[in-house]
């Protein structure tokens, strides 16, 4: 990729001096490549003329593992892809297999799934906000974000005993009944969180340095975003109103009112605004959901041994980072014939080179941050 990069206008001074382009290798061990992403940058001074993302440092062969596990056994593995949004991963996989089985989770399970998934979206966006701000040099928001994320993780812990890789859902519904004070905990968090978002916005939204660092950085036009297959906040910030929660409702999303925030410019600042607004919307969804959790069973009758009929299914959900799709093929045995995962981070990362051309080294960091990638998911 990097070999075919055109540098645009030749730098006259550099040519006269016989200066070469500088090739800077960022990562895989670098404080702000968010894991083990390695980026090879071609620099003219500090200006980026080309880039190449080298991935695979965290490849664990998740898709291959799936072929040697039963459907239930594979479920915890998907938590380890986007490990900051494990609940969402689990939801996508469980629903995909349920679709394959022709089963449907009972209403109570669906509502609880929605609550936990939206909390996970907030947690994921909080982690993004903190680290993104840290990349741009604002040290303090990180700790505020983690303080609130901690509250969410505590709710997960109370629900299923795990905080990060939760394996919260089962194929066919839920294993655990909601604990007694779930509604109260969620309500308290939501009440508190309204004020907290204002705090983050006070620190950043109107801050001249923040705006200067993010506006017009990494611009992705709507056409580009669609062409590159970007999804999630990256797509919506470019002005495309596409959200799978609305377009192809799953879980219990068709019951709740919420807005799809979109941006205009498709720059880093808009992506920031979109994600902050998404946290607000998720909070509203949680509040609506806890008002009326239907009673009834939490597990559909799917049987102990899952043997889906031969066939294939694609099921996508709106994970915090974009469209998370599972393409599952069954050959009628207890193990899937093939599981192909469409990870949003991996696809969104394709936009990186387009966004970073012509910017400075400092912006590279901002752009990696704004894409909100998790390498566990990119490499799988």
């Amino acid at each position: 990729m990097a070999e075919t990069v055109k540098t645009g206008m030749p730098n006259v001074q550099a040519t006269l001096l016989g200066a070469d382009e500088l090739i800077l290798n960022m990562g895989p061990q670098h404080p702000s490549t968010h894991g083990v992403l390695r980026v090879k940058l071609r620099l003219d001074g500090e200006r980026v003329t080309g880039s190449e993302c080298i991935i695979g440092y965290l490849h664990r062969g998740v898709e291959k593992i799936a072929e040697h596990r039963t459907y239930q056994q594979f479920a915890p593995y998907v938590d380890r892809m986007d490990y900051v949004a494990a609940v969402s991963n689990g939801l996508g996989y469980c629903e995909a297999v349920e679709k394959l089985l022709g089963a449907e989770a009972p209403p109570r399970a669906r509502v609880i799934r929605t609550i936990l998934t939206e909390l996970q979206r907030i947690a994921s966006h909080l982690l993004w906000l903190g680290t993104h701000a840290l990349d741009i040099g604002a040290l303090t928001p990180l700790f505020y974000c983690f303080r609130e994320r901690e509250e969410i993780l505590k709710i997960f812990e109370k629900y299923c005993g795990a905080r990060l890789t939760t394996h919260a859902f089962r194929i066919g519904g839920l294993q655990y009944e909601a604990y007694d004070t779930l509604e109260k905990d969620v309500e308290r968090f939501c009440k508190d969180f309204e004020r907290r978002i204002v705090d983050y916005e006070d620190l950043l939204t109107q801050n001249r340095i923040w705006v200067g660092r993010t506006r017009n950085i990494g611009v992705l036009s709507a056409a580009d975003a669609v062409a590159l297959g970007a999804t999630g906040p990256v797509l919506r910030a470019s002005g495309v109103k596409w959200d799978i929660r609305k377009a192809m409702p799953y879980a219990a999303y068709d019951q709740y009112k919420f807005e799809i925030p979109t941006g205009k410019a498709g720059d880093t600042y808009d992506r920031y605004l979109v994600r902050v607004e998404e946290m607000r919307q998720s909070r509203l969804i949680c509040l609506q959901a806890i008002e009326n959790i239907p009673s009834g069973p939490i597990m559909a009758r799917v049987g102990k041994v899952l043997k889906p009929p031969p066939g294939e299914v694609y099921h996508a959900i709106e994970a915090p980072k974009g469209e998370l799709g599972y393409y599952v093929i069954s050959d009628g045995t207890v193990q899937p014939y093939r599981v192909r995962i469409r990870p949003p981070s991996f696809v969104n990362l394709q936009a990186f080179d387009k966004m970073v051309r012509g910017h400075l080294v400092a912006d590279v960091v901002a752009i990696i941050g704004t894409l909100d990638i998790v390498l566990g998911e990119v490499d799988r």
């Binding site: 800077l24 040099g137 506006r215 056409a223 400075l360 400092a362």
Partner: protein, 448 residues
């Protein structure tokens, strides 16, 4: 020969001892500034910070220094060994040399009364940049090189603005000699920050940039360049850079205090009577309060050693309070009052200035390199030049043509502010045009 040496020692014994004290004490001060920074940062960020070594982490700097001293000394294989060796030493030497000329009160100055005092401090402290550039170059790493380049460009840009800001302060002092600058402020009964607020602001911004502190910490921007010029340095060499950085902070804070904040003068230094006495008692009372609080907290420390250290701190505070109180109440020691109280106020002001640095660091995101340069060249430098000229005009008008001095200075500062607003609007127009340009570019993502 021996006679000459003795003669030399007799003449310069005082400064030499003071110099040794600076070399010995400065690392300690820098270490505690670091601890303070970590504590302040922690409290900004709803956490505790260092708590383990000593009560509330009070001995953490010593533990850190020990750790750094006994670390393995690594020199990268392709590094230029000699330059790699000498670069951190250059940085730290420059910082310490600059300290030497500062006056921490009427009684504490190493090189007594250099008549070019301020010029010497500014000049020598800028030498520290050689350490950074050479260190970045010698380590033979791209990150280090980029960090060093940024640092050099940044210092050159901001030194100009800082120098101009200092000049406009010096216009009122009429001297470069550090003690005389403070005396001039004493005779005016006003700090120069009241005469030249814009200059103070420019110096504040420029000094943050010069010491490579956030939001201008480009050279070591952690999230971009790993650690900038320090990337390849470890152990004691790294500690030297760190020491130089914090020493430089103390130097710029001291310069600002001396020139703009009245040096070692008490607030309302002209004020006598009961109000003046009350202000004189302030240092004593605040230290007594601190001692009392430490004494109150000491029994609550979990470990016996920590209790003892805490009592020690309380005792130290009480001792300082006693030292500060002595000249006020004992007639025989009244002569020492200026020196002792001066040192207290000086340190208080320097601390406040450094606290401001920290506050900004934990609140603001980082500027991008080109934005930083634009701020320097398009805003600070023109503003500082106009500011100097206008303040000079005000002084000429009042001394030659009999215009009311306060009025002239006030009007000129107002004009400078208007000019600043003009510069901001020009910059905004430029940004808007640039944004419009980028918006016009249409790309076809399906091509190729």
């Amino acid at each position: 020969m021996i006679h000459a040496t003795l003669e030399f020692l007799r003449t310069y014994a005082g400064p030499l001892i003071a110099a040794v004290v600076i070399v010995a004490v400065l690392p300690l001060i820098a270490g505690y500034v670091v601890l303070l920074e970590r504590k302040v940062m922690a409290h900004f960020q709803v956490r505790l910070g260092p708590m383990r070594v000593g009560p509330h982490g009070l001995l953490q700097p010593i533990a850190d220094a020990l750790k750094l001293l006994i670390k393995e000394d690594i020199i990268p294989e392709n590094a230029d060994v000699w330059i790699f060796w000498i670069a951190p030493v250059t940085s730290v030497t420059a910082a310490m040399l600059a300290m030497g000329a500062l006056a921490f009160g009427p009684a504490f100055q190493v090189a007594k009364d250099i008549n070019i005092g301020l010029l010497f401090v500014v000049g020598v402290s800028s030498l520290g940049i050689f350490g950074i550039v050479l260190g970045g170059w010698a380590s033979n790493s791209h990150y280090s090189l980029l960090g060093a380049l940024r640092s050099a460009a940044q210092l050159v840009s901001y030194e100009t603005a800082a120098g101009m800001a200092l000049v406009s302060g010096l216009l009122f002092a009429g001297t470069l000699q550090i003690t005389d600058i403070v005396k001039a402020q004493a005779s005016e009964h006003l700090w120069f920050v009241c005469f030249a607020p814009v200059s103070f602001f420019i110096y504040l911004v420029a000094s943050i940039a010069e010491t490579n502190r956030a939001p201008f910490d480009m050279p070591e921007a952690e999230s971009e360049l790993v650690a900038g010029y320090m990337t390849e340095f470890s152990g004691f060499r790294w500690a030297l850079y760190f020491l130089a950085e914090y020493a430089n902070m103390v130097v710029v804070a001291s310069v600002a205090t001396t020139l703009f904040l009245g040096g070692w003068l008490r607030p309302f230094s002209g004020l006598g009577g009961p109000a003046g006495t009350a202000l004189d008692l302030f240092p004593v009372l605040i230290l007594l309060a601190l001692a009392g609080y430490c004494g109150y907290r000491a029994p609550k420390q979990p470990v016996r050693v920590q209790q003892l250290v805490m009592f020690g701190v309380a005792g130290l505070c009480a001792l300082f309070a006693l030292v500060l109180a002595a000249p006020l109440f004992v007639g025989a020691l009244a002569g020492a009052k200026a020196g002792i109280h001066g040192a207290f106020w000086f340190f208080l002001k320097v601390s406040a200035y450094i606290y401001l640095f920290m506050w900004l660091r934990f609140t603001l995101p980082r500027y991008r390199f080109d934005q930083l340069m634009r701020l320097g060249w398009h805003f600070l430098i023109p503003l500082s030049i106009v500011n100097v000229m206008l303040l000079g005009l005000a002084i000429v008008l009042s001394s030659q043509y009999g215009v009311n001095r306060a009025l002239a200075i006030g009007v000129m500062n107002l004009i400078t502010l208007l000019f600043a607003l003009y510069l901001v609007s020009v910059e905004k127009g430029r940004e808007d045009r640039k944004a419009a340009q980028t918006a016009d570019q249409v790309t076809d993502s399906y091509a190729g």
